[in-house]
């Protein structure tokens, strides 16, 4: 029993019931525990469970049957699966590269300039992240609009690029920039605080030894922030794999059949927003189940790799 703290208020020594001992904790933890169970724990199990059923709105969600691994077989044999896997890989790799490189670049530059200027630019880079996704998507949709409306056309015209409707003609480039500018802020913030915590002496010593800016970045800054970089790489690739909100708001998988459909959007379309009218929840759950498993595995890895045990030491003082 947890009665061995440095301070004890309870005088009677009769062993209280488990329930009485923990009643206060249960009271405090109750609401959070219920929400976590109902909206995380149960959904994870439900996703896995439903992936082995044929549950769909066509059968009114109630007349479902266990169908074994039929959903998974259907996914792996599907004629669009290859394309969607390819799209997903392109999407994650392109946006991840953009996010990490630009995040690192902005972090390095903003700590390099005067503090106020650096702060201003970091705030601007955070804007896409804190703006409603719909408004952000609206701005890009408009910027990429065909002539005479879009501004992207105006900026590339001096370089001899023919005006076009970027979202339709170059959907992947559009998606890269759309998602890239949102996602770079995470890396920027983490890298900035990591760089600022590097002892100033190291830089001073390097400068005295005659190192130039590039050498300092390459040989001192980047090696010293390799853990934050690894963290952002792993975290960001997982969240990109699961994310589809900005694609949904713009190309919505198009133009044309599945041109920019990524795995998570495919699951969403299949189970929650099918144009065919029938929501194939079971099939969509099988698609999502793969993402859920990846999510659990990667989160668990992050937890272990970034020293969970240091973060959860027992409370110092206990009052029972």
């Amino acid at each position: 029993m947890a009665r061995t703290g440095t301070l004890q208020l309870e005088r009677e020594e009769q062993a209280p019931s488990w329930w009485r001992t923990n009643a206060t904790a249960m009271l405090f933890m109750g609401p959070a525990a219920i929400l976590v169970i109902v909206f995380f724990f149960v959904p994870v199990l439900l996703t896995l469970g439903m992936s082995f059923t044929d549950i769909a709105t066509a059968t009114g969600l109630s007349g479902w049957q266990w169908i074994g691994t039929a959903n998974y077989e259907q996914i792996f044999r599907g004629s669009f699966t290859g394309l969607i896997v390819r799209n997903t890989v392109i999407y994650v790799l392109l946006v991840l590269t953009f996010n990490v490189l630009v995040g690192l670049g902005v972090a390095l530059l903003t700590v390099h300039v005067r503090d106020q200027v650096g702060g201003f630019f970091r705030a601007v880079w955070l804007l896409p992240r804190i703006s409603p996704s719909v408004v952000y998507a609206l701005m890009w949709t408009w910027a990429a609009a065909p002539p005479p409306f879009g501004i992207i056309n105006e900026f590339v015209a001096p370089f001899g690029v023919a005006p076009r409707f970027w979202m339709n003609t170059d959907p992947w480039m559009f998606i890269l920039f759309l998602n890239g500018f949102v996602g770079a802020s995470l890396g920027m913030l983490i890298f900035t605080s990591a760089i600022e915590s590097i002892p100033e002496d190291l830089f001073r010593a390097a400068r005295v030894d005659g190192a130039n800016a590039w050498q300092i970045v390459r040989r001192i800054t980047v090696p010293l922030i390799r853990w934050p970089i690894l963290f952002v790489l792993v975290y960001q690739s997982m969240s990109l794999l699961a994310s589809y909100e900005y694609i949904l708001l713009t190309t919505n998988g198009g133009p044309g059949l599945y041109i920019t459909e990524v795995w998570s959007l495919w699951a969403f379309h299949t189970a929650l927003q099918s144009y065919a009218g029938n929501l194939e929840i079971g099939l969509g759950a099988a698609m999502a189940a793969i993402l859920v498993l990846v999510g659990v595995a990667v989160s668990a890895f992050l937890l272990r790799a970034f020293r969970f045990n240091d973060l959860v030491s027992e409370p110092r003082v206990e009052i029972t």
């Binding site: 947890a2 703290g5 301070l7 208020l9 923990n22 904790a25 405090f28 933890m29 609401p31 959070a32 525990a33 976590v36 909206f39 149960v42 959904p43 439900l46 439903m50 969600l61 670049g105 390095l108 390099h112 650096g118 705030a123 601007v124 880079w125 804007l127 804190i130 703006s131 409603p132 996704s133 719909v134 408004v135 701005m139 910027a143 065909p146 879009g150 500018f181 983490i190 900035t192 100033e200 400068r207 300092i216 970045v217 975290y235 699961a242 589809y244 708001l249 699951a267 969403f268 929840i281 759950a285 999502a288 859920v292 999510g295 990667v298 989160s299 937890l303 973060l311 959860v312 206990e318």
Partner: protein, 290 residues
Amino acid sequence: MAAIARPLPRSGGVSWTSAIPYAVLLLFTLPILILYGWLIYGSFFPSMQGLRPVGGFTLENWRFLWAPETVEALRFKPPIIPLTINTFIFALSTALVVLLISSMAGYALSRIRFPGRRTFLGGVLLLHSFPSVTLLIATFIILRQLRLYDQLVGVILVKTAFELPFGVWIMKGFFDNVSWDLEMAALVDGASRLRTWWQVVMPLVKPGLLALGLLAFVSGWNEFLLPFVFMPSGTQQTLSVVLRAILNEGRFVDYGLLTAVGLYYVAPILLVFFFAQDRLMKVYAGGVKG
């Protein structure tokens, strides 16, 4: 701090190379500045062709506020003011529930030893990076079973749950930094744990509550996917869903209206961000280090 490669002071004045980082930074950031500048600018002109306004300065685009019946694109849409109120209710309720539940759980995790504490803390940390968006399909079924589908309450609960891992973790951090002395005195004097938490400890973490509350509010105000998926019928609709509907139907038709509604929708966020930027940035930066 903040000087990776600042040139050593030289006798010959400022070197021209010190301007390079500013220029590069500006160049990289230009797309964002242009997008937002253009959203603001475009909302005050009848229409825009690229960067050039067509026609003179006008407030026509903003007439959705005082004469919504004259706006073609809004004809079959719920009126903007009730939509704004719905969005506000959604964001505020989410923020308040997140604050209450996170600070209760955060307090227990910070101060009380109980069976399952480590497990729960580990779970919270795990969920902190877990992409909750992958659970929407199962959540759809759960909301239907709970008879909360197509209701604002259901969406608020889901949103709260999704914000919770972050909130609990942040609040635990704030409670960890509060000294035990006052609390101990209150407990020795015979106050209950619940009372001590509410009357003694909560006032001490006000900065944390404010920061988390603002973040949760902003996140709720911006939310698109949850109301879009879980509240399709429209009586309690929020701004994001309706703006998306206009965007989908009226491509390139009335961008003046779209920019005005978009700016109207994002303006409160920009104001909050402008005034509470440092506070928010700190929580963002601290929040992901977990």
